[in-house]
Subunit: 111 residues, 2 copies
Amino acid sequence: MGKLVTEMLKGTLEGIVLAVLGGRPAYGYEITAWLREQGFSDIAEGTIYALLVRIEQRGLVDVEKVPSEKGPPRKVYSLNAQGREYLEEFWSTWSFLAERLEQLRKGGKQT
Amino acid sequence: MGKLVTEMLKGTLEGIVLAVLGGRPAYGYEITAWLREQGFSDIAEGTIYALLVRIEQRGLVDVEKVPSEKGPPRKVYSLNAQGREYLEEFWSTWSFLAERLEQLRKGGKQT
DNA sequence: CCCGGCTATTTGGTGTTGCTAAGTACCGGT
DNA sequence: ACCGGTACTTAGCAACACCAAATAGCCGGG
C-alpha cells in the first residue's frame, strides 16, 4: 500500500503475528504468505523473520524445527503461556488506541 | 501506559495530531496537554514539537505565530488542503488496518 | 548433470519515529 | 530577585519495518 501502512505497522505487526500464532502454530514463510493474501501486499520477507526471532528471544513463543518435503526445515512457532499473556496486553492497548482514534474520526477536538 | 503503546503510536500519532488540527487550529503545548487528558499519559513534550516540525516541512499545515500573555509566542498550526488530503489517506489506511485486526481478534487464522 | 525455480531462513545496512534530557525564553506572583 | 507555569528547541538514543543479498535444501527440465 505505501509508506503510511508501513509506519502504522510498527508496533502492530508484532501483535498481528502473535494473534496468528494464537490461532495455531505456524512458520515464517507461511505467515508472510498469509499476510500477503490478507492485503498486506508489501510486507517484506525479512521483516517477519526478524520479528519471529525477536519474540522468540523474549520468550513469547516456543519453536520446533520440522523437516519440509519441499525445502529446508521449517521453524514452527507456537504461542506459549507468556505469549498469550502478552497478546492480551496487546489487545487491550490496541482497544485503547482504536477507541481514541474512533472518537477523533467523528468529532475531532472541538468537543 | 508503556512500551506497547509507544510502539503503536509510531505512525498513528502523526494522524492523531492531524486529526486534531482537522478539528481546529492548535499549538504544540495545547495539543500535548489535550492528549494527556485523553489518556495518552506518557506522550513526551518533545515528541509533539518534533512531529509538528515534520508535518510543517511536508507542507501539510500552515503556521502562524501568535503572542501569548503567559509566555513565549505560540506557533499555531492549521491543516491546509494538502493536509486534509493526507488525513483522508491516513483514515483509509487506518480503516484497513483496524478491519484486519478486528477480524484477527475474533477468529484468528484457523478460518 | 547442472541449472533455474520454489521453498525457507539469515544477515547487514538504512530511514522513520517516539523517547529522554537538557536548554532557552517569557511572564506573573511572592 | 526568584520560582513556577507557559511554550518551544535541540541532540542523542532505541525500536521497528524495509531493502538487498546470501545461504541452503529440494525438485524438474534441458
